[in-house]
């Protein structure tokens, strides 16, 4: 779509610095995201992986100022194109949300308005941000639908969400997110409610759109295999903390953190008959985190030193890990060389 994007000022399109998000509750303050720093370069796709309750969706919500009450950003910055999104006023944030940063939510059934035709929901974004109206809006929406691989954009424009399958609805959601040609797309578990075949279609559609538009994508998922197909770099999150960040190849060749290894071991393999190994225990409740390393209680390699929380350290270029045991092993390897 020939709108052209404004020039950006930094190499990192989106930079999250020491972000802390809290939810004050009756039982205490729940810290969902704890001093998380991440950066997303232009045209890069970064996967954010973790189990339910690790804080990955809260990350996406805080970027766009969509935290459900009583959540609030306690500390940290979210820098996008020289602005700190945390400090923007609601009207200023509205200019960014949907226009320069798009988001696709997990459940397309709950995210689309059931009484509006699909096309109108995409047109609404164009109207709000670009002032495009009437026949012009319809033409543009149909063009977006056709770009996404639909033969007849007009048919889809007039369909209601309940007439579509889950995969079609998710494509409409992606069209809503990309209507204004944003440079960042946040995809929060975009395929979780879908069949594997539809999931594969959505992932390849996202990859194609990413290449065609030089999008930066933050892809949030609980499935490490899916992330490895869709992303160049992966950040693994556990109980509100980033525990490992690495390029995809590095993460699978040398998963340093025991939690990353456990996530890889529990993936069901379709090409061989080895049974996946479940991770023992449950994710700790955010109000009752163990002191020190948060994975300590479930970790097969835990030792006395883990009573103190390890820092996130760069062991190799671009490969960071938050684990005493891994850091020691990497240090030994470096000494040996």
């Amino acid at each position: 779509m020939g709108f052209g994007r404004p020039e950006l000022k930094s190499t990192h399109l989106l930079e999250i610095k020491a972000l802390t998000v809290e939810f004050p509750m009756d039982q205490g303050v729940l810290r969902a995201v704890d001093e998380v720093s991440l950066s997303l370069a232009r045209g890069e796709s970064l996967g954010l992986v973790g189990e339910s309750g690790c804080g990955k969706s809260v990350m996406a919500q805080s970027i766009l100022g969509l935290l459900p009450p009583p959540g609030r950003v306690r500390a940290g910055e979210i820098l996008f194109d020289g602005m700190d999104l945390v400090k923007l006023s609601p009207p200023e944030l509205r200019k960014v949300r949907g226009r320069r940063i798009g988001i696709v939510f997990q459940e397309p059934m709950r995210s689309l308005n059931p009484v509006l035709r699909c096309g109108e929901q995409v047109a609404e974004v164009l109207r709000a941000h670009r002032g495009v109206r009437g026949g012009e809006a319809r033409a543009q929406v149909c063009a977006i639908f056709e770009q996404m691989g639909f033969h007849d954009g007009g048919d889809l424009y007039d369909a209601y969400p309940h007439q579509l399958s889950g995969g079609m609805r998710q494509r409409v959601m992606i069209a809503v997110a990309l209507a204004c040609d944003p440079c960042v797309l946040l995809a929060d578990e975009p395929t979780t409610a879908l069949d594997v075949t539809i999931q594969a279609q959505i992932i390849s559609l996202l990859a194609r759109l990413k290449r065609a538009r030089n999008l930066s994508v933050l892809f949030i998922s609980h499935n490490l295999a899916l992330v490895s197909e869709a992303c160049e770099r992966v950040a693994v999150m556990y109980a509100g903390r980033i525990v490992e960040v690495a390029p995809v190849a590095g993460l699978f060749d040398k998963p340093w953190h025991p939690y990353t290894r456990a996530l890889i071991a529990c993936l069901p393999g379709v090409d061989d008959a080895t049974r996946p190994t479940p991770i023992p225990g449950e994710v700790p409740h955010p109000l009752a985190l163990p002191g020190g390393c948060r994975f300590r209680d479930r970790c097969p390699e835990a030792r006395a030193a883990c009573g103190k929380e390890p820092p996130l350290v760069e062991g190799e270029a671009g490969h960071w890990v938050r684990c005493w045991v891994a850091q020691e092993a990497v240090g030994r390897n470096h000494d040996a060389e």
Binding site: E51, S52, G53, G149, F150, H151, D152, D155, L156, L164, S165, G166, M168, D195, V196, T197, I198, Q199, A200, Q201, I203, S204, L205, A207, R208, H222, N223, L224, A225, L226, S228, E229, A230, C231, E232, V248, A249, F252, A262, L263, I264, C266, L267, P268, G269, V270, D271, A273, T274, R275, P276, T277, P278, I279, E282, V283
Partner: protein, 325 residues
């Protein structure tokens, strides 16, 4: 077809739902299950795999006697479920239990775990006097739920824990057949592994016959003996697990296999064939057509006219419904 010696035998089962019929909409009918014949052996574990709308959930509900088929018959240990009297059906259903897909909505939000299990035992008159607590304790132990969690409500439990409670509830009646309808599709991958291995262990320990339903072939791979692939209300391929995964014959089975995300590094190429059916959300089809024909790389006009029979391919246990095999 296999001999009908199985513990559960479905013969030419079909289900047509009538829908609509409001002042604004003429009634129409949907063939959720076209024709399914299936014989499940005692202590066998069968995987039933297919996309949404393939009819796998309908088959599951028919199998446990929750839904009466429009055509065909369902037998459990030689007794026809739907010619039985209401009282008899209730007796038979005790042996055929189901675990539902969405663990949180399958549990009553106002009942604690203990109450949910107690109710099941009570309704079926299985509480041994003064032993109810012990019975529930051992059920919870079987599914690895701590006794401290017995007095919690579903919203206080994680998705995986809710699903364990659902399994415990199904096991409370000491069934011989357990049907798990997409037990893991709403769970994290890490929790999926827990639930699937729990089902496999329980099957070994209790000598259960297990039917595991999933849309993802990788979920069933390691734990079932035989896999049936469903599409559009038909079984399109059925084979022992190793045969199916080493030599998938139906192009739809191959599509399902390709669609499974592999843990492999980013290559930048997405040469996957699964992206073919874009834009076919309203494609009209002849009712007797092979439902895969519009998406099939080898589809011909003959495929669009009539689906072939489920016939043995290279060995008698490997059945496939495709004219190219």
């Amino acid at each position: 077809m296999r001999s009908s010696s199985g513990v559960v035998v479905l013969e030419n089962v079909g289900k047509t739902f009538r829908m609509g019929g409001t002042p604004f909409q003429p009634p129409r009918s949907v063939d959720a299950v076209r024709e399914v014949s299936l014989s499940i052996d005692r202590r066998e574990s069968l995987g039933l795999v297919g996309e949404s709308g393939s009819g796998k959930t309908t088959v599951a509900r028919i199998m446990v006697g929750l839904l009466e088929p429009t055509r065909g018959s369902v037998c459990f240990e030689g007794r026809d479920l739907f010619s039985a009297s209401a009282g008899e059906l209730r007796m038979l259903r005790r042996h055929l239990q189901i675990v539902f897909q969405d663990p949180e909505s399958a549990l009553d939000p106002r009942q604690t775990v203990f109450q949910a299990l107690f109710e099941v035992l009570q309704v079926h008159g299985l509480i041994r006097s003064g032993k109810g607590r012990e019975q529930i304790r051992s059920l919870l132990k079987m599914v690895d739920i701590r006794w401290e969690d017995a007095h919690r409500y579903p919203h206080q439990l994680s998705g995986g824990q809710c699903q364990r409670v659902g399994i415990a509830r199904a096991l409370a009646l000491e069934p011989s057949v357990l049907v798990a309808d997409e037990p893991v599709s709403q769970l994290d991958v890490s929790t999926q592994a827990q639930i699937v291995s729990l089902l496999a262990d329980l099957r070994g320990r209790l000598g259960l016959t297990v039917v595991l339903i999933a849309h993802d072939l990788s979920v069933v791979r390691q734990v079932v003996d035989r896999v049936a692939v469903m599409l559009g209300g038909w079984i399109v391929e059925m084979a022992p697990t190793e045969d199916l995964f080493s030599r998938p014959l139906h192009p739809y089975t191959r599509t399902l296999l390709e669609a499974v995300p592999r843990a492999r590094p980013f290559t930048g190429s997405f040469a996957r064939t699964a992206s073919r059916p874009l834009g076919q959300w309203s494609a009209p089809r002849s009712p007797a057509a092979c439902p895969f024909a519009p998406r099939c790389p080898d589809g011909t006009s003959a495929c669009a006219a009539r689906i072939p029979d489920l016939a043995p391919a290279d060995n008698p246990a490997h059945l496939v419904r495709c004219r190219w095999q």
